[in-house]
Amino acid sequence: MNWNYFSKRFGQALLTLATTITLSFVLYHAMPGSPAESLKNVILSQQAASGSGTVDLERLNRMVSMYTNIQPDEPLHVQYYQYIHQIVIEGSLGTSIYENKPVTALIFERVPWSMFISVYALTIGYSLSILIGSVMAYTEKSRFDSVSSSLIIGLNSVPYYIVGLLLIYVLAIQNELFPYGGRVGSNVAAGFNVTFMQSIVWHATLPVISMSMLGLGGALTMRGNAVRVLGEDYLRVASLRGLRRSRIATQYVGRNAILPMYTQFMIGIAGVFSSAVIVEQIFTYPGVGLLMYNAIQTQDYPLLMGSLIIFTSVTVVGIFIADVTYGFVDPRISAGGTDE
């Protein structure tokens, strides 16, 4: 491992993270009726509804600052400093206006559920696409190849949430095979027991299926990679050397064809997270995505910023891991590139 490379990548990752946070922060504040303003309105209307009469401006500002970690009457760069300061020093992302709980607590309560469905969706999607892609490459130009090519292109053109809606309609509403929302049955006691787990898996099935459609497009990439590898000289030499077929299929074709998909897979983590917003909304699956969706609906500024930061971090970490580990998977990269 090359430390120079490592630190360079690490620096790049940090820079990306910082840029995204700054941009979201600045853009959000540039919106007409800044979050502080809208927050004031929210609080005012709440106060009005509860009938506690007038609120003085100072108290209002204090409340806004309590929720968002920023002083609304300070200039933008000071607000920014305050916000970042809170994240770095106290690990606080503010307080949700709607739920009135710390944003970090809300997010981390939801993260495992989102991880659960997205990890399975990614794994299933990519395993399937590698499998289908390899079979397509081996049977190039056969009927299977052309049929599945068109099918996958078709599936790729149909947005995954349409697939999700269809799944709900056919499997949940018409046939009642699967639940159409939630993450666990309402009458199932939480705990380490079989019924509870079954219920979790049951509820996760449809979201996982519709999300894994996203990874399935990889089958065409895999097919292309494998066809390219099949034409390589080292493959011909391997079969001339009388190596076992299984060895050639896994170590020669498989390994070299999967390599380029590794980065795609890591970046796919980001795609799955962002698609979680839509999928979780469709299936009313209470993960981070649904949290974020609700935050947008209720203009819950601290929560929205918080989940944005979490999404960005996960993406950046995924790409960073891909970058750093690629050298182990493909010796030609050797985690350097400069020391050829």
Partner: protein
């Protein structure tokens, strides 16, 4: 001397394509003698590589190979190569006959160290791995490579010449009887070509190898080969010991090929390209395949394909007019060429 290790009879290789069937090897008969170096020479696209691949029954899909290729091991019964099952073929390859071919620059799996290539070859042929790796080290030394450095290297860390030599070492790992070299030096510079050629000569002497060497580089072959066979338009047209080809070529094509070979000692205006173009692999050729370009061609050549006839001992050529050929197609440096000036 006439102890053939390979007997090729009536070999045909064809590919079905959209323009019709390409017959890229046509009715080839060939003997390869034990422990000789046989050179196969011919222009690009004449079918040399396909002929070589057919020796290992390794013609790439969707090509079909018909005819017989008989391999006679030093002990044991003869093997009909084209009838081997997949398992038998897997054993046959590299244990009896190894092949080093054009793409040696990318002959190694880019994600595996060289050592692993040697190891898996030993494993899949059920050899003793420790003894095999020791042998690998001595083989690498004999091709002037540093075994420790090369075995621990990834393919991209080696130069083209090093990879080529490593592949030659790998091809000798299982002590094959025959090694087929398909333009092994095409991508290398002249110096490396020469050193590989002399290396092959040494290896042949120490390992009792039979070498089939394919190239379009005629001068290179004359230094290395015992016998030459000339391929034109998917057929072998002349086969003879090297000296007989060089000084007494019988086929007009061979003579024209010799005249066309660039040589620094000869003035440019004495070098002659062969007029015309080579035939299309899809075309069915009536008569002699060379007749459209041959100065000696007559009615007979257009109508009938000349059979392979013995010109002298070990020297066969497929031409009706081989007796007139020396006069009609002079090779530069010949007296006639002198008289021309």
């Amino acid at each position: 001397m006439s102890d053939p290790i390979f007997e090729v009879r009536n070999l045909n290789v064809s590919f079905a394509g959209s323009r019709g069937t390409s017959r890229v090897v046509r009715d080839v008969d060939l003997d390869v003698y034990r422990e000789e170096t046989l050179g196969i020479v011919g222009e690009s696209g004449s079918g040399k590589s396909m002929l070589a691949s057919a020796l290992l029954n390794a013609v790439v899909e969707p090509g079909t190979t018909t005819g017989t290729v008989t391999y006679r091991p030093p002990d044991g019964p003869a093997v009909s190569v084209l009838e081997l099952s997949e398992q038998e073929l897997r054993r046959f390859r590299w244990e009896e006959i190894a092949m080093v071919f054009q793409g040696a620059m990318s002959s190694f799996n880019p994600v595996m160290r060289i050592r692993r290539h040697f190891r898996e070859t030993l494993q899949d042929h059920n050899r003793n791995i420790e003894a095999g790796l020791e042998r690998a080290e001595s083989l690498l030394e004999s091709v002037y490579l540093d075994p420790d450095r090369v075995l621990d290297a990834y393919p991209h860390e080696l130069s083209g010449g090093m990879k080529q030599r490593a592949l030659i070492a790998l091809s000798l790992l299982l002590e094959p009887q025959v090694i087929v070299m398909d333009e092994p030096t095409a991508a290398l510079d002249l110096l490396m070509q020469r050193s590989i050629v002399s290396l092959l000569e040494e290896l042949q002497a120490t390992h009792d190898l039979t070498i089939v060497f394919i190239t379009h580089d005629l001068p290179l072959l004359t230094k290395l080969a015992d016998r030459l066979t000339v391929m034109y338009a998917f057929q072998l047209i002349e086969t003879a010991p090297v000296d007989a080809i060089l000084y007494d070529a019988a086929h007009p094509y061979t003579r024209a090929l010799l005249s066309a070979t660039p040589d620094l000692d000869v003035a440019v205006d004495e070098m002659h390209a062969i007029d015309g173009t080579k035939p299309d692999p899809v075309a069915e050729i009536d008569g002699c395949s060379y007749h459209p370009r041959c100065p000696l061609a007559n009615e007979q050549c257009v109508r009938t394909d000349p059979p392979s006839t013995s010109h002298s001992e070990q020297h066969t050529a497929s031409c009706f007019h081989y007796e007139q050929a020396p006069a009609a197609v002079p090779i530069r440096g010949d007296d006639l060429a002198e008289a021309d000036r």
